[in-house]
Each structure stands twice: as structure tokens, then as C-alpha cells.
């Protein structure tokens, strides 16, 4: 596959950005999970991206791991909630919707940029394959 390297590199960017989008959607879907105060709250999921073969200029990117946010969450006073403790507090995850929406826009733009890179590379390779023809 190393003949058409640029495509694999752009592809690794696509995969990483899609995993980022998956993590963000997961966070947003679980943003209102209530738990009782003696249990950990839903933790924000963050993707750790790392350059492959840093410095060689031709590795691309890979997901090195997943990090989780704080489990402490934020406590909210809701005495009517069936999960409330004796003082009436419930725990919610410590995720900021505005922050997640910003990240979502960044992930989407990154994905689109990688698609552009891939189609530019494809056009270049197609032109190279036409060398010498057309006479």
C-alpha cells in the first residue's frame, strides 16, 4: 500500500476524526445521566490522538488511547428525584454542552479537510497514471 501513501495518511485522519465524533456523540447522549451521590457520575470520554512516526512526514495519525474526565460530577439539589440522597442531592456528569458542540464543529471540519486531502491526492495520482498517453 505504500505506492499511494497519501491516501492511507488521509484515511488515518478520517478514522481518528470519526472516533472523536463518536466520543462527542456519546458524551452528549449521556449528558443528563443522573446518579446517586455515592456512585461515580458518567465520565466524559476524550480521544488521545498521536502522530505516527513523528518527524518522518509520512505516518499519519492514530488513536493512542482514551482518557476519561472526572467522576466527581456536579451535585444538584433535586429532592423530588427518586435517586436523591438524604439531603436531596443528585449527581450529574460534569460535561459542558457548549464545549461539546465546539468540539463537534472542529471534528467535523477536520473530517472534511481530510476528505479534501484524499480527493486531491487521488486526482494527482490519476494524472500521474496518464503520463505519456493522449498522443
Amino acid at each position: 500500500m505504500s505506492v499511494f501513501d497519501s491516501l492511507s495518511i488521509a484515511g488515518s485522519g478520517l478514522v481518528t476524526h470519526r472516533k472523536w465524533l463518536d466520543a462527542i456523540s456519546d458524551n452528549i447522549a449521556n449528558i443528563n445521566d443522573a446518579t446517586s451521590t455515592d456512585q461515580p457520575a458518567f465520565q466524559e470520554r476524550m480521544i488521545q490522538a498521536q502522530a505516527v512516526n513523528y518527524g518522518s512526514g509520512e505516518g499519519g495519525v492514530a488513536v493512542a488511547g482514551v482518557k476519561f474526565g472526572s467522576a466527581a460530577g456536579r451535585t444538584v439539589y433535586e429532592p423530588g428525584n427518586p435517586l436523591a440522597d438524604s439531603d436531596g442531592y443528585v449527581k450529574y456528569p460534569d460535561i459542558d454542552l457548549g464545549d461539546q458542540m465546539t468540539q463537534m464543529i472542529m471534528a467535523q471540519r477536520g473530517y472534511q479537510a481530510n476528505l479534501q486531502a484524499m480527493s486531491a491526492a487521488t486526482e494527482t495520482y490519476k494524472a500521474a497514471l496518464q503520463l505519456g498517453k493522449g498522443s
Binding site: 500500500m1 505504500s2 505506492v3 499511494f4 495520482y125 500521474a128 497514471l129 503520463l131 505519456g132
Partner: protein, 116 residues
């Protein structure tokens, strides 16, 4: 392969392009192309040695193109344009050699047809 027409000295066409022009820096005096004034051409410029030289070049361009094609088949090729350039060079070299051979053969036949 020995050249049966080695005795014929045909004035060689200058294969070096417009010799004498001082590059692309705007030369003011452009001397005429070297081939226009030469009648004997450069040393070793007779037809047989041109043909032999082209055959040598053909062998090397074809083997370069073959090596790069094998690399393309196994996916080890670093740069697509390397292979495309090599294959075009091999094609041009083959065409050159074949054309020279055909011209040589037809010139020979022409001469053999001459009444003594």
C-alpha cells in the same frame, strides 16, 4: 552484432540540439546550429555507432522499467511518476532503435538495387 553498413559515412544530424546558444540568459548572438556547418559530424558519428549506442541505452532503460514494474506489482514503489517516466523512456528508446534499424535496412536494399 556487427554493422554491415559500417563503410557508409552519412553526415550525422546533430543530436545535441542548438549548440552554441548561451543557455536561457538572453544570448545576443545566436550561432547557427552545429549540425548545419558540420559535414562529418562529431567523431564516431557514423550510422553504425549511433545504432550500437542506442541498443545499449535500450537495454538499460528496459531493465529499469522492468525493475520498477515489479516493484509496482508488489506495492513497494515509492513514487508512481518514477515508473511512468521509466516506461515512457523505454518505449521511446525501443521506437528509436526500431526506426533506425528499419531505415538502415531500407537504405541497404536501396543501394543493392542500384545498377552497377
Amino acid at each position: 552484432m556487427t554493422a554491415p553498413i559500417g563503410g557508409i559515412g552519412i553526415p550525422s544530424v546533430a543530436l545535441t540540439g542548438v549548440g552554441g546558444a548561451a543557455g536561457l540568459t538572453g544570448a545576443t548572438d545566436i550561432t547557427p546550429a552545429a549540425g548545419a556547418t558540420a559535414t562529418q559530424g562529431s567523431s564516431g558519428g557514423d550510422f553504425a555507432s549511433i545504432l550500437a549506442g542506442s541498443l545499449d541505452q535500450l537495454q538499460s532503460t528496459q531493465s529499469t522499467a522492468d525493475t520498477l514494474a515489479t516493484q509496482a506489482a508488489t506495492g513497494d514503489l515509492r513514487d508512481v511518476s518514477d515508473y511512468m517516466i521509466a516506461s515512457n523512456e523505454a518505449q521511446l528508446a525501443t521506437d528509436t532503435v526500431v526506426t533506425l534499424k528499419n531505415q538502415a535496412v531500407s537504405a541497404f536494399n536501396e543501394i543493392m538495387r542500384m545498377p552497377v
